[in-house]
């Protein structure tokens, strides 16, 4: 089961790969890659040797399952009884449903068309038994609808693989020359079971309807969405708020039942004139905290223009994540300060949410530490309400003290009186028109630019940083690009900008 993925060029053969013992191995291929000779189980490097333009993306079994489950939900349109059939199939019990679609053949045609429209290639079949239908769908050709009593004949020309026995059984069957299921019919079950195991016989009997084969029906889906209709359209803020409160209470309870929290909530209001007003907001952490959400919505409720009146409100929770009761307690208890940090933490995130709701989540940023020797790369600005998954960076300690205030742009210093050693800081220097007599200098901390990337401002090579102190006790962080630049001979003799101020200690 494969669908187009964003970011992959559509005109190249595609393979999905997984890591096996440090090696990328193909897990699935599309029809082009298949035609070009790539097969699951092949190493990616080998496949590339045959198909140089093979595109690839990581395979995810969970995504496959999620996709299949979503498809099962969709298939509810044909029958309420739906079961998963292996990792890549669905079984529908359509007893009594087919006539709604104009018969079995028409139902199949309809499903095929709709699936194709969604980008799925599907193999479909209808038969008396789930096993028989699965076998026909997976291995059959041409005849997707089998009339009652026709199953035995329909299956006999299919390969034994259509019964999906395990790999060992399958190869044993192949070695004995069985190419058609029909060739197994004349042999006594006991003899077959002795050689190929009970499982094969059971599968055969089930496909033929000789043994019962109950389906494990999936529970019907329940969306994280609640709705409230009004007999008459409402327009007053109080009414809307009361409606919202009911919806929120309902939704939070439902999330609680499922152990979920959401990072995004969307309120959709259907107006009497068939237009729609939407209000969406996000939270810093997954939440199902009723009071908190009420406050957040309360801040922005006026954004909803009721127009001629609202007759239906729908509240949906999106980006849901598992949120256990413990996490809820430490993270979102929200009462008393006795719990110390977690409570404080939760108050802080609640504050972030309120600010973000006002100024927009994109405008709420924080400084975070980066791991680098270069002072100008030690920190970065990141969105505070970052989606989960981005790693936290190691905190920055450099062994040696660095100033809390770094100038955005280093400033040129004038030398009023040089020292004996040109490599050491001068005795007196001038900054912004003021003279400073230096009394102490510690250093140098010699920092070379990152050789693997163009670092703006570092084109001249390594810098010697010094911690200096003037008579008044003010402390500065100053640097000078090294006069000798052994690794950049091309820059020898270039302008020496002299001493620069990088930052100020408190």
């Amino acid at each position: 089961m494969r669908r187009d993925r964003p970011g992959l060029e559509a005109d190249r053969p595609l393979a999905l790969t997984r890591e096996i013992a440090g090696r990328a191995v193909i897990a699935a291929v599309d029809t082009w890659a298949d035609a070009a000779g790539a097969v699951p189980g092949m190493g990616l490097a080998d496949a590339r040797a045959i198909i140089p333009d093979l595109a690839h993306a990581p395979y995810s079994a969970e995504e496959d399952v999620d996709c299949l489950k979503a498809l099962a939900d969709w298939a509810g349109r044909y029958s309420p009884f739906i079961a998963l059939d292996g990792p890549d199939g669905l079984a529908l019990d359509i007893t009594g449903c087919a006539h709604l679609f104009g018969g079995e053949a028409a139902m199949l045609a309809d499903a095929r068309e709709r699936l194709a429209a969604q980008g799925f290639t599907a193999r479909l079949a209808i038969a008396d038994t789930p096993g028989g239908a699965a076998a026909l769908a997976r291995a059959g050709r041409g005849l997707p609808v089998v009339a009652p009593k026709g199953l035995r004949a329909a299956l006999q020309d299919l390969p034994p693989a259509a019964l999906r026995p395990d790999g060992e059984t399958l190869s044993a069957l192949a070695r004995l020359g069985f190419k058609r299921i029909g060739e197994l019919y004349p042999l006594p079950s006991a003899e077959l079971a002795r050689r190929f195991g009970r499982d094969l016989v059971t599968k055969l009997d089930r496909a033929l309807g000789l043994a019962p084969d109950p389906l494990t029906i999936l529970p019907p889906p329940k969306p994280n969405r609640v709705r409230l209709g009004f007999p008459d359209p409402v327009g007053l803020r109080d009414d809307i708020e009361a409606g919202l409160d009911r919806l929120l209470a309902h939704l939070c309870t439902r999330l609680g039942e499922r152990g979920l929290g959401a990072r995004r909530f969307v309120l959709t209001c259907h107006r009497a004139d068939s237009t729609v007003a939407r209000l969406g907001l996000g939270t810093a952490r997954p939440s199902r905290d009723l009071e908190h959400l009420k406050r957040l919505f309360g801040q922005r409720l006026e954004e909803i223009d009721p127009g001629f009146g609202i007759d239906l409100m729908i509240l949906a929770a999106e980006d849901t994540e598992t949120l256990s009761a413990e996490r809820l307690q430490t993270g979102f208890a929200g009462t008393g300060g006795s719990q110390g940090k977690p409570a404080q933490d939760s108050r802080l995130t609640a504050l972030w949410d309120r600010i973000a709701a006002r100024i927009g989540p994109g405008n709420l940023v924080a400084l975070s530490a980066l791991d680098s020797h270069l002072p100008d790369r030690c920190q970065t600005v990141r969105p505070l309400l970052a989606p989960p998954g981005l790693p936290e960076h190691r905190s920055a300690t450099h062994g040696v003290e660095r100033p809390p205030l770094l100038l955005g742009q280093p400033e040129r210093l004038g030398v009023l009186e040089a020292g004996d050693d040109p490599a050491r800081p001068p005795r007196r220097l001038r900054w912004r028109g003021q003279a400073h007599r230096l009394t102490h200098a510690l250093g140098p901390e010699r920092i070379s630019p990152d050789w693997w990337r163009a670092a703006p401002g570092w084109a001249n090579g390594a810098r010697d940083y010094w911690r200096v102190e003037d008579e008044a006790g003010r402390r500065f962080w100053i640097f000078r690009e090294r006069a000798d630049r052994p690794h950049r001979p091309d820059l020898m003799g270039a302008d020496d900008p002299g001493w620069m101020l990088a930052g100020i200690f408190a």
């Binding site: 000779g37 693989a161 020359g177 042999l187 791991d371 901390e445």
Partner: protein
């Protein structure tokens, strides 16, 4: 020159794996250039890199201090420099102790171990970044002071981290208080600041991260390189003593690796005799045994001469050591053959070290053992590959593990590994690195050319990529870890671990020295190569069969010599299975070479190799040999050197001799030249030699072209050196195996099959070749076969009965039980099960191999019966006799009948060949009438366009032939040799790489009797094999359309054919892959 004397004593070379960023010779050269008084190289817990440093230091005239940095597992580090030889022995033993205690590649040395070994060691304590604030440092210094007193120093180095002043002041105070001198170092990891990038990349590889994520794991700056004495003095101006102390240590340490005099073991000398006397007695006794009719005068003179030379150079113990090994092999019936510079001397012939009759090759002894070289002669001994372990165990038993050990092999970065690791470190996507790597076949040390990048669609201007390629170039040749040498043994009189540290090998029960063969060679330490050779196993088995079936007894030396019929066979390139000359390239060469005598084989073995090919030596030789060109000697002096090879230098010895005779090298220099190419590839002195050689030859009146060619060839030898003495030993095995093939093809084939895996061809081709030589081949059978292939009376002469060893999935133990419990034969599957006590797995393997033929049970019937057996183990015999199980109704008649195609494919799946039929014969109707059988290609006109088809047996892409692929196709009539040029390879890439059955349309090219098909169009018919395996039958009328890959995906065509299982997985199970050589 500066007046400041400074020695850098804290240096890691790249033998501190993935940390040191410079080769030892780079460090030495740089130290010399900067004017350092001495250099001390101390790698982490290792002495593995010191010999290289020693050799480089000697070459460039720099004082080297040999030591090691010890990182204690219980905390702290120090550098130890042994003052003298006994102290070196102690250091070596200490490292051995730590290394033997830890896993391969690791060390567990404890500070508490040190007191027992500290005598005579200078100990330089290494403080951490915290300097004197680290309280443990002071405690450690107290302990060190107690055990080594005035030999303890405290290292101080600038870090340029902004805290140097505080730290160095603190260390100075601590040193003062403890009474331990402060020592200036620069904690060097590279010879020059330009290596910072590589050092960072090594850090990334070591820490398994990428440059963008490594952050402060990387160096803050590029200061950890060798610096000028003035610069060091400036940095340490407040502590001038710390600079002076470096010279104090340099003066105290007098030890040099040159003091490691090698001593031969005592065991080999007979009591009461000197080694020379023992050797002389043995040599004469051996001569009388070799020449029972009396020793010819020529031989007598040669022996006398050689003994005199050996006496002069004191090499007798060496010959005795080798002789002792050979004697053991002989006593235990292990076939052996010596090779190497001294191995083909008359004395070695008499001592039975070699079986090459010296009168046949006439090699000059002093060419190999020269007084000037002052190093032991080189003798490698090949043993049967299945029995070499016995010889190795004998060595351990005789000399003990503390006196015998295997040499190491240094595993270094080559292109592929360097691309992979640098790519990862620079965060290139796997895509890109895979793309770069996949475009490189096999190994090379030349790196990746930017033009190649553009060809494969990468942007050579991309900065990351450009950096990556530069770094790949730098990383190549860097050692990555130590592995064990294939068989190089060092045997000493005293303790081996006092010579060099010993560590655990990956193999259990093996220990390995830290030095590789070049290191040992450089120090003049005896190494005997105990190698394994499959062909010797094969020849031994053939001799045994000759003895048991024909009553003939031969040895390597007693086989009839110079048999013309054998040479006739080789001239026809009829050489499948013959040692060394069975490859495609050799087969193409044989008819042109037309070998007529033993020495021709010596040349044949040596000439088809990268060295001579690179040096453009092959064609001139052939032209001269065929008489199309007069041999032309650049000078009279060179006539002596080159006469035997018609003026074309082919052998390593000749190249050396040219350097001496024509370019005025001393023998020692010539040897250094060879060594600089072969061993320490990056010494940077290659160019000096090149100039010296070419100017030398020009001065002596040789042409620049000839000089250039000679040098290029030496360069080639550097990588793939092949000396005449090795060639002579191999040539003997060529002759012996060819003789066996010529006169006893059944014996030869049986022996080859029983020695697998070995050689170039799969069993199917060996069997087929035997059949073409008139040998009757019989299938493996439970009632006829032994484990090995055997001979049994046939229609004419002996027939070859394939052994149960050919059956895939059958264990040797089971195979031997079948033969042992056979009695009057097995009648049924059940019978075999009960009497031989086989597992069901084994029985299934036999059924798959269709090995029940003599019981008239077919493959599927047998399998059905095996599958029907109940229980895991057969019932006890008496129980079975007591009550016969009820005869079951036999359902096997209901099983689907196998087609001929299915049988053939199933045969291939189990025994990798089929005696029933050839798949191509069955498929011919489907392939159409335009396909010419391989057997008829010889009758076609040269230059005509034909189409041939066959199973792909071998794909070869020789490194020497740029981009060309050789494919060997096989059909029921013979084989067809296809040449695929690069452009066609690109066009038919997938078919060439993956096709199992292909048709090739192309032009016939014939030279002498060798026919090639130059591919123009290649069509993949592999799907036909799947169809065959699926039981499809191809009628004579050719009902089935020919699927071709140039159209739609081939398997769509086969949708109409019922198939078992997944359509395309089948062939992977049912058909063997070709043998591919890169």
């Amino acid at each position: 020159m500066s007046s400041i004397a400074y020695a850098e004593l804290q240096v890691l070379s790249n033998f501190s794996f993935l940390e040191g960023a410079s080769h030892a010779d780079e460090l030495v050269l740089q130290a010399k250039a900067l004017g350092l008084a001495a250099l001390g190289i101390a790698d982490r817990n290792s002495l593995a890199g010191v010999v290289r440093a020693h050799v480089a230091a000697k070459t460039h005239g720099l004082r080297l201090l040999v030591g090691a940095r010890l990182d204690f597992s219980d905390g702290g580090s120090l550098i130890a420099y042994p003052i003298d030889r006994p102290a070196y022995a102690r250091l070596s033993r200490l490292i051995t102790l730590g290394r033997r205690r830890a896993e391969k590649g690791q060390a567990d040395i404890r500070l508490s171990d040190l007191p027992d070994y500290a005598e005579g060691l200078i100990l330089i304590a290494l403080p951490g970044l915290d300097g004197a604030r680290d309280r443990a440092l002071a405690r450690r210094l107290v302990r060190l002071k107690r055990m080594a007193d005035d030999r303890v120093y405290l290292a101080a180095a600038w870090r340029f981290d902004g805290q140097d002043q505080e730290r160095l002041d603190g260390l100075a105070v601590l040193a003062e208080r403890m009474g331990i001198p402060l020592l200036a170092t620069n904690d060097v990891i590279a010879h020059a600041p330009a290596r910072r990038a590589l050092a960072d990349v090594l850090t990334c590889i070591r820490e398994k991260t990428s440059i963008d994520n490594a952050g402060r794991l990387l160096e803050r700056n590029a200061e950890r390189h060798l610096k000028q004495p003035q610069e060091m003095a400036r940095l340490f101006a407040p502590w001038p003593d710390a600079i002076a102390r470096t010279m104090e240590i340099a003066e105290r340490v007098t030890f040099s690796l040159d003091e490691l005099a090698y001593e031969y073991p005592d065991e080999i000398v007979e009591p009461g005799k000197t080694p020379q006397q023992s050797l002389e007695d043995m040599a004469w006794a051996g001569a009388r045994w070799r020449y029972p009719a009396g020793i010819p005068d020529k031989v007598r003179t040669a022996i006398e001469y050689e003994l005199r030379l050996i006496g002069q150079l004191n090499y007798a113990p060496y010959f005795l050591t080798v002789q002792e090994l050979v004697r053991f092999a002989k006593d235990n019936g292990i076939l052996h053959q010596g090779r190497g510079s001294a191995a083909n001397s008359t004395i070695c012939y008499c001592l039975d070290i070699t079986a090459v009759d010296p009168t046949l090759v006439n090699l000059l002894f002093e060419r190999f053992v020269s007084a000037e070289r002052g190093e032991p002669p080189d003798i490698d001994v090949d043993f049967e590959h299945e029995r070499r372990e016995e010889v190795i165990q004998h060595i351990y038993q005789t000399y003990g593990r503390d006196r015998a050990g295997l040499a190491a092999t240094v595993i270094s970065y080559r292109t592929r590994g360097a691309i992979r690791d640098v790519g990862k470190a620079l965060g290139l996507s796997e895509d890109v690195t895979a793309l770069i790597s996949s475009q490189i076949w096999g190994w090379s040390s030349e790196g990746v050319a930017p033009e190649r990048l553009a060809e494969i669609g990468l942007d050579p201007q991309d900065e990351r990529l450009r950096l990556a390629l530069v770094l790949v170039g730098e990383l190549m040749g860097f050692p990555r870890h130590l592995s064990q040498h294939v068989g190089g043994f060092v045997i000493t009189r005293g303790r081996l671990d006092e010579l060099c540290p010993i560590e655990n090998a990956a193999m259990e029960d093996r220990t390995v020295l830290e030095w590789d063969k070049d290191d040992l060679d450089a120090l003049g330490i005896l190494k005997i190569d105990v190698l394994a050779l499959g062909m010797l196993t094969c020849i031994h088995k053939a001799f045994d069969l000759l003895h048991s079936h024909y009553g003939k007894d031969y040895t390597l030396a007693t086989l009839p010599k110079e048999d013309l019929a054998v040479y006739d066979m080789l001239c026809k390139a009829d050489s499948i299975g013959v040692f060394q000359v069975e490859s495609r390239a050799q087969m193409a060469f044989l008819p042109r070479m037309q070998p007529r005598e033993f020495y021709d084989l010596v040349i044949e073995v040596a000439i088809v190799r990268p060295g001579p090919i690179q040096g453009n030596m092959v064609h001139p030789y052939l032209r001269r040999r065929s008489g199309a060109e007069e041999p032309d000697y650049p000078s009279e002096a060179l006539r002596d050197v080159l006469q035997r090879t018609l003026g074309v230098p082919l052998f390593q010895e000749q190249a050396m001799k040219i350097a001496i005779v024509a370019a005025g090298f001393s023998p020692a220099e010539a040897d250094k030249l060879r060594r600089s190419m072969a061993a320490f590839r990056r010494t940077g002195v290659i160019h000096q030699f090149r100039e010296k050689m070419i100017t030398g030859m020009l001065q002596n009146g040789y042409t620049a072209d000839f000089a250039e060619r000679c040098f290029r060839q030496i360069e080639g030898f550097g990588e793939y050196g092949f000396p005449e003495s090795h060639a002579a030993s191999f040539a003997l095995l060529v002759y012996v195996s060819a003789w066996l093939k010529r006169y006893y093809p059944a014996v030869f084939t049986a022996a080859l099959l029983n020695s697998q895996p070995m050689g170039f061809y799969a069993p199917a081709q060996l069997v087929r070749d035997a059949a073409e030589h008139g040998v009757e081949i019989r299938p493996p059978d439970i009632n006829r076969s032994a484990w090995d292939c055997t001979l049994e009376p046939g229609l004419k002469g002996y027939a070859l009965r394939l052994g149960l060893r050919q059956v895939k999935g059958l264990r040797q133990e089971d195979g031997e039980w079948i033969a042992a419990a056979r009695g009057n034969g097995y009648a049924t599957v059940d019978d075999l099960w009960r009497r031989a006590g086989l597992s069901r797995r084994a029985l299934e393997a036999l059924a798959d191999a269709d090995a029940f033929g003599s019981t008239e049970i077919g493959r599927r019937g047998a399998l059905w019966a095996v599958k029907g057996l109940t229980g895991d183990k057969p019932l006890p015999l008496f129980a079975a006799m007591g009550e016969e199980p009820e005869p079951l109704r036999d359902f096997s008649a209901l099983l689907p009948r196998a087609t001929a195609g299915e049988e053939v494919v199933a045969d291939y799946a189990s025994i990798r060949l089929s005696l029933k039929d050839h798949p191509l014969r069955l498929l011919r109707p489907a392939l159409g009438p335009s396909i010419v059988p391989a057997g008829q290609l010889v009758e076609m006109k040269n230059g005509s366009t034909v189409t041939a088809a066959g199973l792909v047996l071998v794909r070869q892409r020789p490194g020497s032939a740029a981009g060309v692929i050789f494919m060997t196709l096989e059909d029921e009539t013979g084989v067809c040799n296809v040449v695929v040029w690069t452009d066609k390879f690109e066009a038919y890439r997938r078919t060439v790489l993956q096709g199992r059955l292909v048709a090739v349309k192309g032009r016939l090219q014939r030279e002498k009797i060798v026919t090639h098909l130059i591919a123009e169009e290649i069509i993949d018919h592999s799907s036909l094999l799947d169809a065959l395996a699926a039981g499809h039958e191809f009628g004579a009328e050719g009902t089935m359309a020919v699927p071709s890959v140039t159209e739609a995906p081939s398997r769509n065509r086969l949708q109409a054919v019922p198939r078992p299982g997944h359509p395309r997985d089948q062939h992977r199970v049912l058909f063997p892959r070709s043998r591919d050589f890169h």
